[in-house]
Subunit: 459 residues, 2 copies
């Protein structure tokens, strides 16, 4: 039996014998009785187990440490205490696995998040990370549900690739060669001896491959791990993260924004419904007002405005910017923040200067901007980035050349524009950024189970 079932149907179990296996989360003992906060990990809220000195093994129970695995047998009764409406009156508490002296989570103080990162294999046992990683799981479920219910095909785009969407200087190289004895030929690495017979990378995006499937199924999405070699130690960078990349044929940028808005609201609403205890905890201990922010997002209408008009607003604001707003440049974090506050809600910023965006985006009729769209969300910053893709072969080839793309490596991608091409759009959403938004957690290392950052690859 799972504790979750007991919590959900406790009335059915009242005055009946129940049996649970799980861990001791807290333990207060007195001379004649003791209280164990028990949880088996299937839900956020503990249950209180009361034991008294009429049990034969009262003394050994009272010595059980926090973190021990135990089997609890007892009767579910209405509680006289103030903290809960029911509890288990134990007839036995049996030790399954004890805890050594050096268990790092035994003390009652609240360990720092930095310390918990060093014991990442234990941190999901704490209330905070238990909440965060359940929200992560439920969010992933919501994303799959949204796309599957709307008849998108889930595509597993390859991780190992010889094509690069984001630029190979950002990608990890992958090899089976003996690095202490790299074979060479004519003075450079002889990759013919590597497993794939050539230099391979681990991918930074599944978009290009995703587009090939959108041309077959109309609506597809990816959801998988992604890698960047960025040597950057900030609160928002990790070298391995998960990304969702939907791609939709016969879809222009306006419809794309409809989809992004609908999906995000669906996911936020799903998490609010499925994780009320976890969200309440994060609201209280991580980010005050979290629940209200999430609820307000569901009920808001996302604003749509061009990059040009955003710059107008920023320029006319009575603020001394660290970075001067510029019609030809990206916007800075301070600008993102101002704009979402200005509109008091999420903002789609469209039609970006083409030179700061990717080569596959559709150039607008003005010849200066591309049909790209970033979604800025209050408290989260840029949550999604997407665009309508260039569907015309000649225009795409020309643009690729201008941007220095190696045409030989993407010939198959370009061919899509010669074989039944159609207008189509897609976006990418960093999954960790979404989880940061949903939990209020400010450091990306605390929303992914085993964060990989420069110099850090433990466990």
């Amino acid at each position: 039996m799972d504790l979750k079932d007991l919590h959900e149907h406790y009335k059915e179990y009242l005055n009946k014998t129940v049996e649970l296996e799980g861990w001791i989360k807290n333990h207060r003992k007195q001379a004649y009785f003791g209280f164990i906060d028990f949880n088996d990990g299937t839900c956020f809220n503990n249950i209180q187990v009361v034991y008294t000195n009429d049990l034969n093994n009262f003394n050994s129970i009272s010595e059980l440490r926090i973190g021990s695995a135990v089997k609890v047998i007892g009767t579910l009764i209405e509680s006289e205490g103030s903290g809960q409406s029911y509890e288990i009156k134990a007839s036995d508490v049996i030790l399954i696995g004890g805890v050594d002296d050096d268990y790092p989570l035994q003390s009652k103080g609240r360990p720092t998040r930095e310390f918990l990162r060093e014991i990442a294999y234990l941190r999901p046992r704490t209330n905070l990370f238990n909440a965060v990683f359940r929200i992560r799981s439920i969010s992933a479920d919501a994303i799959h549900k949204y796309f599957q219910d709307n008849n998108y095909v889930y595509v597993h785009t390859p991780l190992i690739t010889t094509t690069d969407c984001e630029g190979s200087d950002q990608m990890f190289k992958l090899t089976t060669l003996d690095m202490n004895n790299i074979p060479t030929k004519d003075g450079s690495v002889d990759f013919s001896q590597d497993l794939f017979g050539r230099l391979a990378y681990i991918t930074g995006s599944g978009q290009l491959h995703g587009e090939t499937y959108a041309q077959a199924y109309k609506k597809i999405y990816t959801f998988g791990p992604t890698f960047r070699t960025e040597n950057s130690n900030t609160k928002t960078h990790v070298n391995e993260f998960w990304m969702i990349e939907p791609e939709i044929a016969f879809c222009d940028i306006n419809k794309l924004m409809d989809i992004e808005e609908e999906m995000l609201k669906y996911v936020v609403n799903y998490v609010l419904e499925k994780c009320p205890d976890e969200i309440a905890f994060c609201d209280k201990f991580v980010s005050n007002g979290l629940k209200e922010r999430l609820t307000s997002l569901i009920n808001s209408e996302f604003k749509r405005i061009s990059h040009h008009d955003v710059i107008d607003i920023l320029k006319s604001a009575d603020i001394k910017w660290e970075f001067t707003p510029d019609y030809n440049e990206d916007i800075a974090k301070e600008h993102e923040k101002y704009i979402t506050e200005y509109f008091n809600g999420p903002v789609f910023i469209t039609n970006w200067p083409k030179d700061i965006k990717a080569w596959y985006m559709k150039v607008n009729e003005d010849g200066k901007t591309v049909a790209a769209v970033d979604l800025e969300v209050p408290g989260a910053g840029e949550l999604m980035g997407g665009s309508e893709r260039e569907a015309d072969y000649d225009k795409l080839v020309q643009r690729s050349k201008e941007m220095g793309v190696d045409l030989d490596k993407v010939d198959w991608y370009l061919n899509l524009r010669r074989f039944g091409t159609c207008y189509h759009s897609g976006f990418g959403m960093g999954f960790e950024r979404l989880i940061m938004y949903l939990t209020g957690i400010e450091n990306i290392r605390d929303v992914i189970p085993y964060p990989r950052t420069p110099g850090n690859c433990d466990f």
Copy 2:
């Protein structure tokens, strides 16, 4: 509007104007009228579009090639033809994107699967691969649904790792170093200059990390890509594949088998319900009797038998084996096949000789076997492999030493046995193997969108 919606609710649309965007799958034209088999990719079955020479652009419509993207506007009418009960009488067919002369799927012959692998970016447009990759998507959905509905936490275990569960000789090395100019120190690679400051790998299993989360949530699962460097060119090997690895605390090997059986039946049933057209197609063109095999699996009771007893059966069989059955050895493919035929259904084989199984498996009381279990399925071979894990610290350390495991690298994993350890079990299922079983496809390269095999890393 999606064609899928139209098919599902066609009665509501009869005699009404409909508008669809998609591709021409087939085209038969005559002097005064023509038929287009149209599909937008949202479902398996095409719809027939009829156009006649009272349309102004009759001639240009009649020249449209297979593979072209078009917009169809017309009236949904009851069909007089024999192949379908309704069709679209076109009032217009507008070309969105044409097809160049060299489009490889334009001819009407059936291309070989080998050829289609060379144009992997186009193959989901064929009936066969369209069916296969939709089944793949729906199967993934089923797996997430099963585990989420049963309150498992989905854990994203890391892909980049310095720990190895399966042995680092099986893992790709990952580097940001310039391979033409590898920095050295004291005669060997100076990994301090690599992004993580040490040699990193891309993982072959998420199990060890998964166990750490099972100790927090009781029930978890992973579902992600996995990598092996095996230099093997067979029908069943790829170097990148997807795997599902559930891990359950307070679960012994018997309960594990219950879960495996329940999950597999759930997934097969879900696919039969959601993909009847795709399964019917595979039954007809890929593997006769497929649907019957899948249906029979749902209704069968999985046999449970020890490795020892399997060897007994194999030895007493009146067959000249290529590989002699041996109580201390693994069983061969010919044995797997015989055993599932012998029991006429899926078979769990338990209690394997410890020397041929992994170091983390629980040694049984006999001291010779481990509490491992492989599931053999008729027509699929070994579909899942799992075990109860060794939960005792001292026994696990001893076994690790015997098997040559580097204890320093897995100290955190061993620590789980000192901090509230409990009996627990888990299994792994290769996702591609499942899809091969569900489609009848015999080559693993044909069930993953972009297969990576030795010497092959195109696209």
